[in-house]
Amino acid sequence: MRMHPFKQVLLHVAVLVMIAFLVFPLLLLVFNSLKTQTQIFESPMGIPHGVTWDNFRTVITGGTFLINLRNSAIVAFSTVILAIIVTAPAGYALSRFKFRGRTAFSMWLLATQAFPGIIMVLGLFTVLKVYGLINTLPGLVIMHTSFALPFSIWLLKGYFDKIPIDLEEAARIDGCTRLRALVSIILPLSVPGLLAVATFSLLLSWNEFFFALVIMRTNETWTLPVYLARFLGSGGVVQWGPLSAAALLVTIPVFVLFLLGQRYLVSGLTGGAIK
């Protein structure tokens, strides 16, 4: 069926308006990072004239930005690796085996989403304290992994469901052990699923603020979101130029990785939900 040309134009205009609403705030951030403080307040929405890189220079040379960047990278990378190692077998088992408590396990995974951050942080704080992990990167990795697990298992189950069981059976008739079939047949096919988990847990860890705020107590152990919040609340007039530059630098790495991984994440999320 054809659409009336007028209606079709209207459709495009409506979509463009929505897209503008979603993109404009980010554009403001980019503009601000390239303006001086005076420029920012003279024309809050204007395109910068006479680009300045001073804001970026201030952020990188002063303060703890680079140390906090390193912290964020270490924590996010470790969380991704840990999440994959732990969730891949669990997702596989949920998809392939029938076992007592399978439904209960799935319900539990959903229920964990409802656990309030404050209760978890109070409890985890006690656990981490026992092992001397407060104010350390491994402590935060444990927190982020616990946060990423349930959703990742659920995501992966959806992926394994899509891989036909016949493939495995055929391999096993040909004399493969289950483990062998798993490693050489299922694992390569589930790479998109693993990438979905990687993207999800990376996003979660890199962007996570609450747990990091509570357990990272010194400038040297902050992650980037804590750095930004402290920057904003450090008293006096907010330096929007440098702050925007810092926020942009925090956003760029995860943004690029997200663009690379979003295809897998989206198909993983939507596959799991529709089944």
């Binding site: 980010l26 601000n32 809050p44 229920a111 409890g123 616990s146 989206v266």
Partner: protein
């Protein structure tokens, strides 16, 4: 040996033995970092911090008693409900319309538009909050635009007690749109094109088609979106913390922020835990509602 699904069903115990090595690591980790901390966190509610001795002492249910006499708690509870219901409702409404448009065969550059829609999703919550804090500044972009439109009494978004919570809600809606849109879009794509075509031929309007045909067919996806998004929004901390810190005068205080303020601002972990338990009860009832609806 050939194993098929029907054979598996007859040998549940054998299956369990095989499943165990796969599930065990996740179970162990979940017990260690989820189940145990949950119990540990909940147990904190029975203790109160005494500033004189600097120790936590057993105080029974005192924290709950104090909670229900605390007007700020009641305020935060109401705020949290408004914050969650309006955020999720608005997110859903906007995303639904956006998703149907992005699903239209008549839209050019659909792929590009869909990818761009995802942008707010990738941004850290703190960054999103910073941007919106700037947008809502008294001399910021929004008020500049409004004064350009001839508005004389410019609102002080972040400082006005009637507006502060709404500024947070707007930022939250903005951040939530991509996830909701992409999920609805996936639901729409799973529909057979014929049904919509037939409805259109029969002269059904946009609204009729959506309400009578589309929404019932993707009910399952809608339920999971509403459940997850409600839980996440209710638990959300970043936006309110960065935008208003719950102020002015607790006008935008929500439960997670209030719990944090007590537990880490005033050392009263027990009181924070009591607030946390109320959150837990509210959210678990949401989960139970969802499970009941799905099992039907």
């Amino acid at each position: 040996m050939k194993t098929s699904r029907s054979a598996n069903a007859r040998r549940p115990f054998l299956e369990e033995k095989r499943a165990l090595p796969f599930v065990a690591p996740a179970l162990a980790v979940l017990c260690f970092v989820s189940l145990y901390p949950l119990a540990q966190g909940i147990s904190r509610v029975f203790y109160s911090f005494r500033a004189l001795t600097g120790k936590n002492v057993y105080s029974g249910l005192q924290n709950f008693v104090l909670l229900f006499r605390d007007p700020v708690f009641i305020r935060a509870l109401l705020n949290s409900l408004v914050w969650t219901v309006t955020s999720v409702a608005a997110m859903f409404f906007v995303s639904y319309i956006l998703a149907t448009m992005l699903n239209s065969r008549h839209l050019r550059f659909r792929r590009a538009f869909r990818t761009v829609t995802l942008i707010p999703w990738a941004l850290p919550g703190v960054v999103v909050s910073l941007i919106w804090r700037y947008i809502f500044l008294s001399g910021g972009p929004l008020n500049t635009a409004l004064s350009g439109l001839g508005v004389i009494h410019l609102p002080a978004w972040l400082i006005d007690t009637h507006l502060a919570l709404w500024t947070c809600i707007i930022a939250n809606i903005w951040m939530g749109i991509p996830f909701v849109t992409i999920m609805i879009l996936a639901g729409l794509q799973s529909l057979e094109g014929d049904i919509l075509e037939a409805a259109a031929i029969d002269g059904a309007s946009y609204l009729q088609t959506q309400l009578r045909i589309v929404v019932p067919s993707i009910k399952k996806v809608i339920l999971i979106i509403l459940t997850l998004e409600s839980i996440w929004t209710f638990n959300s901390f970043d936006i309110v913390y960065v935008l208003t810190r719950g102020g002015p005068a607790n006008a935008s205080m929500t439960l997670p922020l209030y719990a944090y303020t007590w537990a880490y601002g005033s050392q009263q972990a027990g009181y924070g835990a009591a607030i946390g338990i109320i959150i837990l009860l509210i959210l678990l009832s949401v989960v139970v509602l969802y499970i009941r609806e799905v099992l039907q």
